[in-house]
């Protein structure tokens, strides 16, 4: 395979590991963009989902948000975000991509956090209430720990989606790893194209795997037997 050799050669070229266009810079850009998008989505959706799940209201909202979120194509989100970022004077690249990624990350986090709290055995919650725990204590000591695997599952789905979609930021002149793919396509530079694809795919799989490891490590004792 001559292409694989060229890809290996591309990775071996020290010039591709240095400076503002180098692989390390692009990976950092990708992680910054994805991390910030997921963090903003968590801040916006987790408190609301915990509250709704605890009081047991708004189920239809949580489900509908999930359905609407699924129907929103990622490139369409980017298309809507671009004029907004331009109108706000934030320009191309980072900001429109961030604006597109946050609404992509909200639905899985909102829905699974809501369901996680809602699905906690009501007998356990009643027992806690009977023992005199305040509502905030029930949420903190009972519902969040028991719902944690599902809450993390939503965050994992959102993160993998965001890492994958951050690639599209290169279309609006953003940095991150999509740069290699979009430039590779434009220049018909196949080694760069495939190398970029490899980096993005590895980052997505690494995100998935590290979340799974984190979820196993934080699962409450007694729940690990039944994942």
């Amino acid at each position: 395979m001559t292409l694989l050799g060229d890809v290996a050669g591309w990775f071996a070229d020290p010039a591709h590991w240095q400076g503002t266009h180098g692989i390390p810079t692009r990976i950092v850009e990708h992680l910054e963009l994805s991390g910030l998008a997921v963090a903003v989505a968590i801040v916006l959706s987790v408190p609301l989902a915990l509250y709704l799940g605890h009081v047991g209201r708004g189920g239809f909202v949580a489900i509908n948000v999930a359905n609407i979120g699924r129907a929103l194509p990622s490139l369409a989100l980017l298309a809507f975000a671009l004029p907004i970022a331009i109108a706000l004077g934030l320009g191309l690249g980072f900001w429109p991509t961030l604006f597109a990624l946050v609404p992509l990350a909200i639905p899985p986090i909102l829905t699974s956090t809501f369901v996680a709290v809602r699905e906690v055995d009501r007998d356990v919650v009643d027992a806690a209430r009977g023992m005199g725990l305040r509502e905030s204590q029930i949420l903190r000591a009972i519902e969040i720990p028991l719902g944690l695997p599902l809450i993390l599952d939503g965050m994992r789905t959102a993160s993998v989606n965001v890492v994958a979609t951050a690639t599209l930021g290169a279309i609006v002149a953003g940095g991150a790893l999509g740069r290699f793919i979009v430039d590779g396509l434009a220049l018909q530079d196949y080694p760069q194209l495939v190398a970029g694809a490899l980096l993005v795919a590895l980052l997505a799989v690494a995100t998935e795997v590290s979340f799974a490891a984190f979820a196993r490590a934080t699962a409450p004792a007694g729940m690990t037997a039944n994942p």
Binding site: L3, R70, A71, L72, P73, S74, L75, A76, L77, L78, A79, F80, L82, P83, I86, A87, V160, V163, A164, T165, T167, L168, I171, V172, G178, I181, V182, G184, L185, Y190, L193, V194, G196, A197, L198, V200, A201, A204, V205, E208
Partner: protein
């Protein structure tokens, strides 16, 4: 997106109805090919997984890995081999439908109560007749849920195939970005969302007509 210009210039839309229609047609065509092929492959994989249960975990693991690879990256892997072609687009699109479809077909068929299966066997149904006349009809609800998700996901992914020269509504979005002109951008994005919602609605209607017994409330 220059200051003072409206977000959507309706005169552009009025002058480009032919082009917009063409892009909608391309989008639908790419989606339908992907979902139909995906369904055929998924049924084959699901039956293999049901017949030989030890094959099922590796099948879903493989489909899961395909599903995790970002769409643009998957297309990029294929371009050096299959070019900027319909084949590249469809290989990618079909790959993404497999996980959802295989999982839903298998769990739908597995959720058929064993009493029902035993009763059919006792009435003299052959295994093939049990599959086609008992298990599949009863699993249809779960399978349709999978088809709806796969279709909506595919419609979203088809916007990305414009990057490898396959047209569709993503073409209008890319045109808007390249020309820094918000009208095609908004038109392409809005229509791709509308198409997803319309396709979902249409599939619900098809499901109701195929499963008349679920209409009784």
């Amino acid at each position: 997106m220059t200051p003072g210009e409206p977000l959507v210039r309706w005169d552009w839309v009025a002058n480009h109805t032919g082009e917009i229609g063409l892009r909608i047609g391309e989008h639908l065509e790419l989606t339908i090919i992907a979902v139909v092929l995906g369904l055929a492959i998924a049924f084959a994989l699901a039956f293999a997984g049901l017949r030989l249960p030890h094959l099922y975990p590796p099948i879903t693991a493989f489909a899961g890995i395909l599903y995790t690879i970002p769409s643009l990256a998957l297309f990029a892997f294929l371009v050096p081999y299959t070019g900027l072609s319909l084949l590249t687009a469809e290989i990618g699109l079909v790959s993404y439908t497999l996980l959802i479809l295989v999982r839903n077909i298998v769990s739908g068929i597995r959720s058929v109560p064993s009493e029902v299966r035993d009763a059919a066997l006792g009435m003299g149904y052959t295994p093939r007749a049990i599959l086609w006349r008992i298990e599949l009809p009863l699993a249809l609800g779960v399978i349709f849920a999978g088809i709806r998700v796969a279709t909506i996901t595919t419609i979203g992914l088809v916007t990305v195939t414009a990057l490898i020269g396959q047209g569709g509504l993503g073409y209008l979005i890319l045109l808007g970005i390249q020309q820094f002109f918000s009208t095609p951008l908004i038109v392409g994005a809005t229509l791709s969302v509308a198409l997803a919602v319309a396709a979902d609605g249409a599939l619900v209607l098809v499901q109701r007509s195929l499963m008349p017994w679920t209409r009784v409330r």
